[in-house]
């Protein structure tokens, strides 16, 4: 059975005339042991999607659709069941480890927090020992458990967050921009660490980032989001190197490649800003910024369609894009 099955998920902030759609009909599936990357610009709805998975969105957000975690719908489960599923079923590595750790508790105790909360261990001492074991798993000496968050470096804090995410042996880990604030070396270390742990524990990983290169390097499959919808989905390397959707292509090209002559002068970007979710352009939401837009793009919004083996893309050009370049 698939571990995570998101069906036609809509998230709207606010109600009535002021309603702003943040996620507009997303379908995702993730099997156990698989790694799925979710890419997109700031404000495209990827973090909203991550929080919606555990019903963590603040009250004004309305969520529609189905989120099946191991076949159980997160959106309809009872409050008690939801709390049991949180962390034990699916955990999150939050972005910004500094702020996701409570400054007044030692990190060992913070890792022990979910263990005690979910009654995996009942004694403080046993939970701590377990937390220290987790710290060693993520490459920190157990003695560092006695430190407060401010005494650790950025990379160490992120390791603590990862250790915490593993504390209850979840089936699914959602990593929301786990490497954003880290330098490249640490970023690579953290990514290798996540990869290793995911492989060892056989958990499903949903990794969210704006960095297509990072995602394609780590994940098996890649989904690209734009304005609350998935515009392309497919095997990670293929999406990165041979995008079907012009937006994915632009995202991939936005990262300069060492050795490519054109990147030395001016790294390629995408003109314009992501659309305001409150005033989405008609038709294909990407058409105002699209270099290959047709006149029909302003009228019809293309659905996701098959674009080769295991690939889907929402673009009228699906078959012709590659030839057009």
């Amino acid at each position: 059975m698939t571990l995570l099955d998101v069906r036609d998920l809509h998230v709207t902030y606010g109600t009535g005339a002021a309603a702003v759609p943040a996620v507009r009909g997303v379908d995702l599936t993730l099997a156990a042991g698989q790694k799925l990357g979710l890419a997109g610009e700031s404000g495209c709805g990827k973090s909203t999607l991550a929080l919606a998975l555990l019903r963590l969105l603040p009250r004004p957000a309305r969520v529609r659709g189905e989120i099946l975690l191991d076949g159980e719908d997160v959106l309809t489960m009872s409050w008690g069941r939801l709390r049991a599923v949180r962390w034990a079923g699916a955990s999150i590595v939050f972005q910004g480890a500094m702020h996701s750790l409570n400054a007044v508790h030692r990190v060992r105790d913070q890792i022990a927090e979910p263990i005690l909360l979910h009654r995996l261990e009942t004694s403080q001492a046993a939970a701590r020992r377990r937390a220290e074991g987790l710290l060693e798993q993520v490459g920190l000496p157990a003695a560092r458990g006695g430190a407060y968050p401010h005494e650790l470096s950025g990379g160490q804090r992120q390791r603590v967050m990862i250790a915490m995410a593993l504390a209850c042996d979840p089936r699914l880990v959602v990593a929301d921009e786990p490497t954003t604030a880290l330098d490249v070396m640490i970023q690579a270390q953290i990514l290798r660490l996540i990869e290793r742990l995911v492989a060892e524990h056989g958990i499903g990983l949903l990794m969210i980032s704006h960095d297509l290169a990072v995602l394609s390097d780590t994940c098996d499959r890649l989904a690209v989001m734009y304005a609350g919808r998935i515009v392309e989905e497919g095997p990670a390397q293929r999406v990165f190197t041979a995008a079907e959707h012009p937006y994915s292509g632009a995202l991939a090209a936005a990262f300069p490649t060492v050795g490519r002559a054109a990147d030395r002068r001016a790294p390629q970007g995408l003109p314009g800003d992501p659309p305001d979710p409150a005033r989405l352009p008609g038709g294909c939401t990407f058409h105002p910024r699209c270099p290959v837009a047709l006149e029909t793009c302003a009228a019809d919004e293309p659905r996701l369609r098959e674009a080769g083996p295991g690939r889907r893309a929402a673009c009228v050009h699906v078959d012709s894009v590659k030839e057009a370049r």
Binding site: L101, N102, H105, H118, A143
Partner: protein, 329 residues
């Protein structure tokens, strides 16, 4: 698993030692298997020692603490030090309003009682009222503030309107009214001060709670499966506590001052000696106009000194207990 079962959190823990003390891990765990109680005690002892080391570094706090200890000891031992009948009007040892002498270092009051002895007795009331009223104030204030800040919505609205109601009433007037309508006793004074002074703390705690609830680690705690109780106890309370502690020391000084004011206005228990009451006696006996400074000045200074000591000790305590302040040093 039921919501209640998850909401409960196993025993709150005293701050643990930061030392990588687990070097002797195997021996330690063997010990803990044999006698977890002893291990817990050893840990508590270590953490107390660490706390004391940090506190010793705060010179002003140390002065405040020593002074408070002396005052508290004097107050406790008052019957032994000055005799249990020092406040008796009928067999007063001296004549009315004597000047300082070797027998009465601070002179006598209008009944011929030794002012020094009265001062020692007055410390008991000031400390009792100050501590209990502050505990009441801070207790109500923290509870109301945290509930309002955490739950929000209509509960916050109701609680804050009640707070506003108490806030717009002048503290002293409210305390006077309460002290008047209730029977005259020390308990009444404590309740009057406590009920009149909590809104400020409640506002403060609510603001801090709101600020903390917006932090990502509270979102993380929710994602961990923590319920309201868990979030409030584990994350909000420890972060509100330094503020509450600082507030407590201020409230103690304030409560001591308010007690003195109430006693000065004649609303205290007439049967007990308090510093505010002594000031009132001095005024009524005409000590001001007749130049009997020795009756008037000592209670005033005593009030100021105790209030100052609490503030000093409180500030030192805050900088020791708050790890965020600790790093700066």
């Amino acid at each position: 698993m039921s919501t209640e079962a998850l909401g409960e959190e196993p025993g709150a823990e005293p701050p643990d030692t930061g030392a990588p003390a687990k070097s002797a891990a195997p021996a330690d765990s063997a010990d803990s298997a044999a006698d977890p109680g002893a291990l817990a005690w050893a840990r508590r002892r270590r953490s107390a020692a660490r706390f004391w080391r940090a506190y010793r570094g705060q010179r002003a706090g140390l002065v405040g603490l020593v002074a408070l200890a002396v005052i508290a000891f004097t107050a406790l031992a008052a019957p032994l030090l000055v005799g249990s009948d020092a406040d008796s009007v009928t067999d007063a040892p001296g004549t009315a309003l004597e000047n300082p002498s070797t027998e009465f270092p601070l002179g006598t009051d209008q009944f011929g009682r030794s002012v020094l002895d009265l001062l020692v007795y007055g410390a008991r009331i000031s400390l009792t009222v100050g501590l209990l009223a502050a505990a009441l104030t801070v207790g109500i204030g923290t509870l109301v503030g945290m509930l309002a800040g955490h739950y929000g919505g209509w509960l916050s609205g109701v609680l804050m309107r009640v707070t506003d109601f108490f806030l717009v009433m002048p503290t002293l007037v409210l305390a006077i009214v309460l002290a008047t309508v209730m029977s005259r006793s020390v308990t009444t004074v404590i309740i009057a001060i406590g009920v009149a002074a909590w809104p400020k703390t409640a506002r403060l705690v609510r603001a801090q709670t709101l600020a903390i609830e917006a932090r990502p680690y509270v979102e993380r705690a929710r994602a961990l499966g923590g319920g309201h109780t868990h979030v409030m106890r584990r994350h909000v309370l420890p972060n509100v506590l330094p503020l509450v502690l600082a507030q407590t020391t201020l409230v103690i000084s304030e409560a001591i001052l308010t007690e003195a004011t109430l006693a000065f206005l004649g609303l205290g228990d007439p049967q007990v000696v308090s510093w505010g009451g002594m000031l009132q006696d001095a005024r009524e006996a005409g000590a001001i106009s007749s130049g009997h400074w020795s009756f008037l000045v000592p209670p005033g200074i005593a009030i100021a000194v105790v209030a100052l000591c609490f503030t000093l000790a409180g500030r030192a305590l805050e900088s020791v207990l708050n790890p965020k302040l600790g790093v700066a040093k």
